[in-house]
Point group: C2
Chain length 456, copies 2
């Protein structure tokens, strides 16, 4: 096993942790398109958004100009409970692959939510508390966001109502218990508790649910309950802002050792991890200070970047949310019960969509069995059992490292390892037993879904 000057894990000191979030929109020439009111077709105003989101978060959502937004001290202290997260040099994976590439990953899984989601959960819960609210509602797919929000709410003494995509609720009963440990209520979605849930169940009686459905239900409950607001774990500008802490730490750790990455790779569902990881690097790229190859990796079963359309669409299935311009498969697209629940979203962050459309980043899709093969290979040498979502990035990183082996290039690859797979063992079991399938939607299926895009 190798033993070099750069340590296996680079930890920042607490004093080196970021004191502000970085808002990549400030450096974007083409700003992300605004959210639209589906009734009027006009950009959503702060007042309109204030019925759904906390006031401070609305401000952050609409702010395309301020590059650095200070992180409140209370949030910085909470971050110290589980951050800085390590930037790991994958010496053992490099050795296994016999590649000249240098591989690093930013590991966000060392906290009970099991992922990076806690970075935005505590920020959103903090602003809700500061506004004097009673509680928040949300949706969760794989359960990582719901767990993160439960932890943040429990810490601050806020009520937390989670709508969990039905297929994940059933595949991951333990996730529900973790959320209960943190005092949250968890309802499988679609449910009979909301109008939109009842409507969806009537139309699609056997549905497995989707993030789009669960969002509709959570928004409905937030809007109808006194003292509640809705919070979302991905897609939104504010979420990418909070998640910039990942990229800022990564950049600081790399600079500490004079490491200049050639490419940055992240998995992409709604874009929260990828957006956070790449934001300061993208900032340098936008300002012409440096260049990086940036790659989004999505599941072949839900390929919004690689096979979707850049258009205004609903963020949710029930069409209760504003319209967002994004790469989308259509808000009615219900992906196959792919085990990477966190990547089963029909659309993509408006910020990332604009950057992709501007040619500032690439995207590729990967098949589920290839993803699990990479996950297992990684686990055996790096000692971390990755979440299926994270393993999409591992797959692409391994593929790139193997290309370097062929060409002899000593590229420096950085990827985001968003979390751990401890609650995904049914999926690993299916993979071990050869029972895992690769669902890939047909062109017709995608076209039919896209045909129903709203006419804006």
């Amino acid at each position: 096993m190798p033993n070099k000057e750069i340590p296996y894990k680079i930890y920042l000191e607490e004093s080196e942790m970021p004191e502000s979030w970085y808002n990549v929109r400030a450096d974007m020439k083409n700003k992300p398109a605004p959210l639209l009111n589906p009734g009027t077709g006009q950009p959503m105003t702060a007042e309109e958004l204030g019925g759904v989101f906390c006031d401070e978060l609305v401000k952050q959502e609409l702010d395309n100009d301020t590059a650095y937004i200070p992180i409140p001290e209370e949030i910085r202290n909470f971050y110290k409970m589980y951050r800085p997260s390590p930037l790991v040099r994958a010496y053992c994976l490099e050795e296994k692959l016999q590649t000249p590439a240098k591989i690093y990953y930013k590991f966000e899984g060392n906290n009970t939510s099991g992922s990076h989601k806690l970075n935005s959960a505590i920020a959103q819960a903090y602003y809700a508390k500061k506004q004097g609210l009673k509680g928040v509602t949300t949706e969760t797919g794989a359960g990582q966001w719901g767990t993160a929000l439960s932890m943040a709410c429990s810490y601050l003494g806020l009520d937390c109502k989670v709508f969990m995509v039905k297929v994940s609720y059933e595949q991951k009963p333990f996730r529900r218990e973790v959320m209960r440990t943190y005092g949250a209520s968890v309802t499988p979605s679609p449910s009979m508790d909301t109008e939109v849930g009842r409507r969806i169940l009537e139309e699609f009686p056997g549905t497995n649910g989707s993030l789009g459905c669960a969002i509709s239900e959570a928004v409905e409950v937030a809007v109808k309950s006194e003292g509640y607001r809705y919070v979302l774990g991905s897609v939104l500008n504010q979420v990418l802002l909070h998640q910039s802490v990942i990229g800022l730490e990564t950049m600081a750790a790399l600079k500490k050792y004079d490491i200049k990455p050639d490419m940055i790779i992240g998995c992409a569902g709604g874009g929260s991890n990828l957006g956070g990881l790449i934001s300061p690097f993208m900032g340098e790229k936008l300002r012409g200070e440096a260049d990086y190859q940036i790659i989004a990796v999505e599941p072949a079963s839900c390929p919004s970047f690689t096979r979707g359309k850049y258009a205004y669409d609903f963020c949710d299935t029930g069409k209760v949310c504003p319209l967002a311009k994004m790469y989308t498969l259509g808000s009615g697209f219900i992906p196959a019960p792919n085990h990477a629940g966190g990547l089963r979203y029909h659309g993509m962050s408006s910020i990332l969509s604009q950057l992709y459309d501007d040619g500032l980043m690439e995207a590729r899709s990967v098949k589920q069995t290839d993803v699990f093969a990479a996950a297992e290979e990684f686990a055996r040498v790096e000692g971390i059992l990755p979440a299926p979502e994270s393993a999409h990035a591992i797959r692409a990183a391994i593929d790139e490292a193997l290309k370097c082996k062929e060409t002899g290039e000593e590229k420096t690859i950085v990827f985001g390892l968003t979390g751990t797979g401890y609650f995904d063992m049914y999926a690993y079991e299916a993979f071990h037993d050869g029972k895992m399938t690769n669902y890939i939607p047909s062109d017709e299926e995608i076209a039919a879904s896209l045909a129903k895009l709203p006419q804006i």
Copy 2:
């Protein structure tokens, strides 16, 4: 939330990590009693032990004199994959309890085995590999040791056969899948695969199994298979030696910030975590350089220190192992299906037993529901979902911190947080649903078991 000079997490630099293990036996005036051959009643020789264990590990097992044993470079490099582990200042728990006590915990859960067990697993697998063996056999209770050994064996390319206590095998199906991810074979114990398993099943047809049974089966397979040896995750002197890395790192981190602990608390099943955590502190105590209050915490359902007898006993139910002098409930004692599977062992490390008998440490037992109440309280403020085993130490640490609140004493408490509870959600569920029971063995039950101790 507080924000003080001592960081939330103290991480050592890689260069500050221990280069040798510390062997507390070297400083013990009364050495731990030797293992005896049950046939002859004489101390086991290196040759006899060599049939069961690797040669280098036999040497370590029998070495009562060498204080520092160098850690081979390969093992030190493996340690760098997941160590140093953080020493965490529990600022948030202190705040919640409103105690003047200062609480620290050494967190060993940030690796896929979910506990400290990997520290000895890699050492034992390394020596097996170095001796040219094909593979190793072992038992596992909660599954943490089995997972750790699977990881180490997969890394080194050794075969790994795990006998898993039946009740844990059923309560924790996901643990089995993690072990399979690392290529191990996992058999529920007692099984029909071994003579001793068939004998136990005949005598106790509905048995839930126990660590003692599973050890017997694993030893039988090792002894009967060419190129295999048996490895054990706790109890043995060699295991406490490897686990001293926990205590050495803890002491180095404390000294870095001039912190002098008043008490050190650890959960105790066979003693691997407690023995490792306390060893350098006990060394200072034995050499008269410092004094510490040291507390072992065990489950009321399996109270070997607090209600057992200090005597020679079999390490396993099938009586195929050597005799060890230890605090024991009798090798035939089959504890209730307590959810802290890792603490369901009838005996206790000979080293710790001798230290306890010499009055150098204390012990107390705690009830399961009190343990889970502490676990939940801890999770909600410190953000880590603890393993039930670890939560025994949390219970005692909280109790001590609350005592300080009454007396106003500003004691410094250090406890070992051995791991995470992600695979223990059935137990958390039972606790949330009010279905958790507190089994406490009767005096008659313990007396009946102790009456069957071997006559030495």
